[in-house]
Amino acid sequence: MNENPAIQLKNLSKRFGSLTAVDGVDLTIAPGEVVALLGPNGAGKSTTIDLALGLANPTTGTASLFGDDPRTAIVEGRVGAMLQGGALMPTMTVAQSVALVASVHRHPLSVAEALERARCTEIAKQKVSKLSGGQMQRARFAVAVVSNPDLLILDEPTAAMDVEARRLFWQSMQEFTAAGRTVVFATHYLDEADTYADRIVMLAAGRVVADGTPAEVKAVVSGRRIRVTFDRTWDAALAAALENMPGVRSVEARGSQATIVTDDSDATLRSLLVAYDDAHDIEVTAHTMDDAFLALTSKSTSSTTSSRTSNATPATTPANGVRA
């Protein structure tokens, strides 16, 4: 059996002039895994994918697919991809596009089968220029699977899709992964990563900031933020007391106002109100993924690697969620 990882990135970096798009990424994805690359826009997801596919040359580091140079794996037809800015020609029909790509592969699926797998049979004869956003993505999926690949890389596959189209898309994806194939998809929807991936790799500012099961990563990403004002002046003792309250991850103060990030806002609030009767103007908001990204990025400057074996644990502070 082939024990080579489907994807192996070692110390991968890419700089465009002064901008570092990918900054020392180490990542190993085993055959059969379904992995979400989660991150905000500009996190380096697309560039990482380009590097993994050999479409861009890394500034440092190496990328290999199935233990080989990416190009070798592509030539063998083991890799299919839906890229950002990789669209179909508007003058062709869906079936023609699939047939054209199939014609360059050595052992492609039949055009009809690729269309069926991507739920494109009814739109096969339609011109690409006439497709809706969701239909377009399905057509691109048909093109990506026509080589019958072992590894599928999808860059924001459900962008421009409505809820129903998204459901249909993931349904066809699950048939594909059920056969034990590897899928890596980039997304900025946490719920999508959570529902369809069995592993989430979070990227921010070109680095891997968290890597683990959806439950583990969600613990880092989720949480509540309590904003509270005190009548007393802020001091270190107060900060320490707040940090020791149940569920609290971090405390930040500005003047007499504190922002508490907590995993269990109910428990924190109970203790807070009991301990401090001068606490007022309390506001509880959901800790958004953007907040989590920000927190993780600002504290991840020393982090280098993240791998499957040293998963992010449900963290007490975001910084601890980032494992070196």
């Binding site: 465009f16 697309s46 560039t47 380009d50 596919l53 479409l55 861009a56 040359n57 592509i74 030539v75 063998e76 037809g77 890799v79 299919g80 991809a81 890229l83 800015g85 990789g86 669209a87 179909l88 020609m89 508007p90 003058t91 062709m92 023609q96 047939a99 054209l100 790509v101 014609s103 360059v104 592969h105 050595r106 691109r140 093109v143 080589s147």
Partner: protein, 247 residues
């Protein structure tokens, strides 16, 4: 190399009616305008000693072939701007294979355009020329188109969508003028004609005439056209390698 891909790609474009009208309409209209008014009664051109209608037919065939080959640039620009070429990069199709498919397609469109112009002329004006001479003229023009297919690819590789059209026009008009496709070079001083011989479009027309007369020195055009083809080809491959990354 994928023969199946090249076949699908060139047939796809041959079926693109808009492109065909674009490369055929102007040469055909001009064939009837000039050929009909000056060459309809069998006058002989003094420079080439060919029937005037044959000279005009070959000129228009060359013209149409040149447009057909250069117009490949629009296709490539579209493919690049849409990202279709990125999609192709994650297939076994090599960079060389992609470029060869474009050359083959350009050459297929060119021969189609040449054949239509010649056929229309033969059916409408019945010029006096043997089948062999026509065949040699057609092959001559067709070989002469190779540098233009490469120029078309180069424009396609370099131009942003909004600049493809002007660049096409500059190359097309400049080469037509310098190569004497519009104004006979005899009206210029001798040195202009000498210089014009390094321009590929000069030979595009001359090769047709030489073919029609079934004589002439083939060495000079062969050297000039091969030199251009090699130079453009090297430039194209260099550019293709640089273009690999998404910027």
């Amino acid at each position: 190399m994928s023969i199946a891909y090249i076949r699908l790609e060139s047939f796809r474009q041959l079926k693109n009616a808009r492109l065909l009208i674009f490369s055929l309409a102007v040469p055909l209209v001009m064939l009837f305008a000039f050929g009909g008014s000056f060459g309809g009664s069998g006058q002989i051109d003094q420079t080439t000693h060919l029937p005037w209608i044959v000279v005009t037919t070959l000129q228009m065939a060359a013209y149409g072939a040149m447009i057909a080959a250069l117009s490949q640039s629009f296709n490539i620009v579209t493919e690049r701007s849409i990202g279709w070429n990125r999609q192709l990069r994650i297939t076994p199709l090599s960079g060389t294979g992609y470029l060869i498919s474009k050359v083959v397609t350009a050459m297929a469109l060119a021969i189609f355009s040449i054949l239509v112009v010649v056929a229309v002329s033969v059916l409408s004006f019945h010029p006096h020329l043997t089948v062999g001479a026509w065949a040699a003229a057609i092959v001559g023009i067709w070989l002469g188109v190779i540098p233009f297919a490469l120029i078309g690819i180069l424009i396609g590789q370099f131009a942003k969508p909004e600049y493809a059209q002007p660049l096409f026009m500059v190359c097309f008009m400049g080469l037509s003028l310098l190569g004497g496709l519009w104004v006979p070079l005899q009206i210029f001083p001798q040195w202009v004609s000498n210089v014009a011989q390094v321009v590929p479009s000069y030979w595009l027309n001359r090769l047709g005439q030489m073919g029609a007369r079934l004589d002439g020195d083939w060495l000079t055009p062969a050297i000039v056209l091969v030199a251009w083809a090699v130079a453009f080809g090297a430039f194209i491959i260099w550019r293709y390698r640089r273009d690999a990354a998404r910027s």
